[in-house]
């Protein structure tokens, strides 16, 4: 990769690819002209704003990332049906609880992804993040066993995220 006055020419490849996809989607076309314009924008915007994005994210294990994405989508579907039944069922049987999930993740972006995943899936919403004490406060709609639920979230979502984004570049 060549460097230009201390700047990288392609600072964020993933962001560039994402922006190109977004540009083609928003114009709803795959005409050659839009490919050119999209490529230009996808190069120029990350290049000129690279000082705003200190961390460059790297996907270490693409296959695992894809599997994680499918797992999350499937969980969202299941969770929606479960939550729908909980909402329509008896209100008195619900056992809401707050949980503190200790975090092993270090990077801001990965923690954001974890919090968003938790909010989108089974009956849980992340409501607060305490960086100094290193835990995420999560509210669950119907939790029978708090320790079990915390362990579930840690093995199901945190471990794959840690492997995908953080393991081989400490």
């Amino acid at each position: 990769m060549s460097s230009l006055a201390g700047k990288k020419l392609f600072p964020h490849k993933l962001l560039s690819a994402f922006m190109l996809g977004l540009w083609l989607l928003i114009n709803n076309t795959i005409a050659p002209g839009h490919w050119v314009l999209g490529l230009l924008l996808a190069w120029a915007i990350p290049f000129f704003t690279q000082s705003f994005w200190p961390q460059s994210m790297v996907i270490n294990r693409p296959v695992l990332a894809l599997r994680f994405l499918l797992l999350v989508l499937w969980d969202i579907l299941i969770a929606n049906v479960q939550v729908a039944f909980l909402i329509m069922g008896s209100r008195q049987k619900l056992n809401p609880a707050f949980m503190r999930i200790p975090l092993e993740l270090k990077q801001d972006f990965t923690i954001t992804l974890l919090a968003n995943t938790i909010s989108l899936t089974p009956g849980t919403v992340s409501v607060d993040l305490q960086m100094e004490e290193g835990y995420l406060l999560v509210h669950g709609l119907h939790i029978d066993d708090i320790d079990q639920a915390i362990a579930d979230i840690k093995t199901r979502y945190e471990k794959p995220l840690k492997e995908i984004f953080e393991c081989s570049n400490p």
Partner: protein, 119 residues
């Protein structure tokens, strides 16, 4: 447009509408704020997701060319819904809203009122 396509579109639309209704029902009938937070964040995103898939099939089959730009709405909502739920929840924590009595581990109960120091 063939009959089978219409059935598929109708299925997606109907499922999406039902999820949107259930989410709003949860907002209307659950007891405390933190429980109400669950309805909208999940059910409505999937509700809009169903509509979007239905709409993609509808315009693709109607105009005989792939029309994917509705996906942007679903993508945007899937990114922003957890963020807005998080920040509304944070505001509620900050104001220490009353919780349902059965709630376990309320952060500001049992004298640890200062531990929820949100800045």
């Amino acid at each position: 447009m063939s009959f089978a396509t219409e059935v598929v579109i109708s299925l997606f639309l109907f499922l999406g509408a039902c999820f949107a209704l259930v989410g709003s029902l949860g907002l209307a009938r659950l007891q405390d704020f933190f429980m109400r937070l669950h309805g909208p964040t999940k059910a409505t995103t999937l509700g809009v997701g169903g509509m979007v898939i239905g709409s993609i099939i509808f315009f693709t089959a109607g105009e005989h060319e792939l029309s994917l730009h509705e996906l942007l709405i679903a993508l945007f909502l899937f990114i922003t819904a957890p963020v807005s739920a998080h920040i509304v929840g944070k505001a509620a924590l900050h104001r220490q809203l009353p919780c349902e009595e059965r709630t376990k581990n309320v952060p500001w109960a049992e004298g640890e009122k200062d531990s929820v120091d949100i800045n």
